[in-house]
Amino acid sequence: MKLQPTIGLEIHVELKTRSKMFCGCPAEHFAKPANSQTCPVCLGLPGALPVPNRLAIDWAIMIGLALDCQVNLKSTFDRKHYFYPDLAKGFQITQYDDPFSFKGQLKLESGKVIRITRVHLEEDTGKLLHKTIDGHKLTLVDFNRSGVPLVEIVTEPDISSGEEAKEFLKKLRDILRSLGVSDCDMEKGSMRLEPNISWSLSADKLADYKVEIKNLNSFRFAQAGIDYELKRQKALLDKGEMPVQETRGYQPATKATFSQRVKETAADYRYFPEPDIPPIVLTKAYVENLRKQLPQLPEIVVQELVKDFHLSLSTAQLLVKDPLKLAYFIQYNRQIDAQTLANLIVNKKIDLSHPPQLKTTTETVDPKIIDQVLKENKDVVVKYKAGKTSVMGFLVGQVMRQTRGQVDPKLASQELLKRLQGPALKS
């Protein structure tokens, strides 16, 4: 049998709750003075008692539901032990045996299904900075990030190329943003990607090795890193050599991966139940209530925008990508022609913090445009004359469109009225 590219993804997403996962310290840590947002719990001081953030739990479950997962009605937290300076306690509180959800799926455009293994909740670690100070190589540690709620999403190794991985990741990011649970800002590290890659017989018959890539902070790098890694491994396999199981870094400048000397061995993490946190037990009704709170999935919203407002696919996709833009469009599309409004939003020609105020550079409306609109929409004019005055909005929209939004909609409406109530149109 032939070997094929076999890629699984691990994605970490920081939730944008106000407070941390197990304590009341602020979760927002970007650009804050180092070690200014810690307490005995997130510093791992002896005797501190972690208490889970209810909203973080709800959001983790909602992510699972949006990815078509089954929800565990009884979930537990576990301790995962390892020694690393970013982990003050010597263990990380995470979920091992009973994650909040498992066995989901996400469909690609091609119809191909990528299975989701699990979605679980854990705490983020401190942040490490590697520096040379006075000729000594040192590591600086900032625990502001320690304890920020982190959701880990794990896929089955169903992905077969860098391009598929990129599509999956974009779809996932759009879903997470539409849920409003994470910024998914890769530059700030609120979304982190770790593909693991091998050439295997199939997703169920994996190779004896896999290579994980770390430090990928864009979808483009993920795609390039995966493709590079597939080529590198294939070359070794073709020579009859087995690639080494290892963690590799990615260097954007060379578009290549490189072996990282990572010290953890094939980890004996000594997981055991977190004794300080009693199990989370949910009723079916509770889970169903969370399901009701799910917004429509981005794909479906895109389809509806195309169908209901005749937006182009790319414009609809751009709107859906940003919840603020989408909300603005939905709020104001009755006041201005939908396509004009969508274009203004997508091209950033409109201030989202105010209702749309179109530049009215023209004080009058070119009568030719009014004529043209009325001629092109005779059926609508008939409806208007039959008493269906609500179609006026549509006609105004058409004028706005012809003038690229350069006239005051009120003025356009007045002009149209004059013509419609005046002598009949010459045809």
Binding site: S19, G24, P33, K137, L140, V141, T265, P273, P275, P279
Partner: protein, 97 residues
């Protein structure tokens, strides 16, 4: 009779981040074996495994998503027990050399 080999002791010591001498490894190898044998007596008891739980009867102990400023430490307090610090950071030996 359990047997914790010196090799296993070495592995456990590594995971626990403990530097052990060769003499200590041999000593702990027999000591840990004895400890396991002693604890092994528990397996002779009849215990309902379904009742084993680290959590007693509590469930769903959670908190609201609210910032609690009363417990936040100042940077100075947070760093007060650190062996070495640098400009507000904890300082440790380089992880990557």
């Amino acid at each position: 009779m359990s047997s914790i080999s010196p090799k296993l002791v070495k592995h456990i010591a590594k995971l626990a981040n403990l530097p052990l001498s060769a003499g200590q490894i041999n000593k702990f190898s027999s000591q840990l074996s004895n400890v396991l044998d002693f604890m092994g007596q528990l397996s002779k008891l009849k215990i309902d495994p379904k009742k084993a739980s680290p959590h007693l009867d509590l469930t769903n102990v959670t908190r609201e998503d609210k910032i609690d400023t009363s417990r936040i430490l100042t940077q100075k307090q947070a760093l007060s027990q650190a062996r070495k610090t640098h400009q507000g950071y904890f300082l440790v030996k380089a992880i990557f050399s």
